[in-house]
């Protein structure tokens, strides 16, 4: 839809079909920040098993426009809570397969503690606040929507909202 337009408005939030290169993204994130002493990154990947069943395809649907806004809100909240130099969220959409990369959260700060906490925080909130939905296809052709997990809602509680 308007991904390109939104990427230019929100350069640190990307919702895209294309894969990403962790090294290239971090190099770009660090560019021009000589005071960065810590970079923490989280990469989520597609498992070949869910709820005890093999999964052959995982399809990601999202709510264009709201997704970008929700991710940016989470990112800015992290910047308010911790002293960060830069951060980036990339989330893929469309059809993915086991072992594919699906999400990247990268946070850079002067000292490691802020970066560790902020990356954890961003992932916990992304799980419950960003409008993405997963649909999985099993090897026998059965297609089903992935259920949300109570543990994801609980994980968010640790941040005292």
């Amino acid at each position: 839809m308007n991904h390109r337009e939104h990427q230019s408005e929100l350069p640190f939030v990307k919702v895209q079909q294309a894969d990403f290169d962790l090294t290239a993204e971090i190099t770009q994130l660090r560019q021009g920040h000589k005071n960065i002493g810590a970079v923490v990154s989280f990469v989520g990947t597609v498992r070949d098993i869910n709820e005890g069943d093999d999964v052959s395809i995982l399809e990601l649907e999202h709510y264009p426009n709201m997704t970008e806004k929700a991710l940016e809100k989470i990112r800015l909240e992290a910047h308010q809570r911790w002293s960060l130099e830069a951060s980036l969220i990339i989330h893929r959409i469309g059809k993915l397969h086991p072992t594919d990369q699906i999400v990247l959260v990268a946070v850079a700060s002067q000292h490691r503690e802020s970066a560790f906490h902020a990356a954890h925080f961003i992932m916990d909130f992304l799980k419950t606040n960003a409008p993405f939905w997963k649909k999985e296809t099993l090897p026998n052709g059965e297609v089903r929507w992935v259920d949300s997990r109570v543990s994801d809602a609980e994980a968010k509680q640790r941040w005292d909202i």
Partner: protein, 90 residues
């Protein structure tokens, strides 16, 4: 899309399993509801399916103009209202 949104209408979107269960992705309705709750009551009248998927659904997620909202959220002309199940990204 803005052209479609005449001044006195609201734009409604349904995502993921809701879209499949209700058989539609979006629609426009007259902006004659003060709150999301009123809109949900009106949609529930369409049939058991609509009532179950939306009105009676304790896990119903709501967004108004791209922000998380609730049944109590007020509506006005030109608003975009979205209904969807709990999110499962990441």
């Amino acid at each position: 899309m803005d052209n479609v949104l005449a001044d006195n209408r609201i734009h409604i979107l349904y995502f993921a399993s809701f879209r499949e269960q209700l058989g539609q992705a979006e629609e426009c309705l007259p902006a004659s509801y003060d709150t999301v709750s009123e809109l949900l009551s009106e949609l529930a009248v369409r049939g058991e399916n609509w009532k179950t998927v939306l009105f009676d659904n304790k896990n119903l997620q709501i967004a108004v103009n791209h922000d998380i909202a609730s049944r109590e959220t007020c509506l006005k002309s030109g608003d975009e209202v979205a209904f969807f199940p709990p999110v499962t990204g990441g």
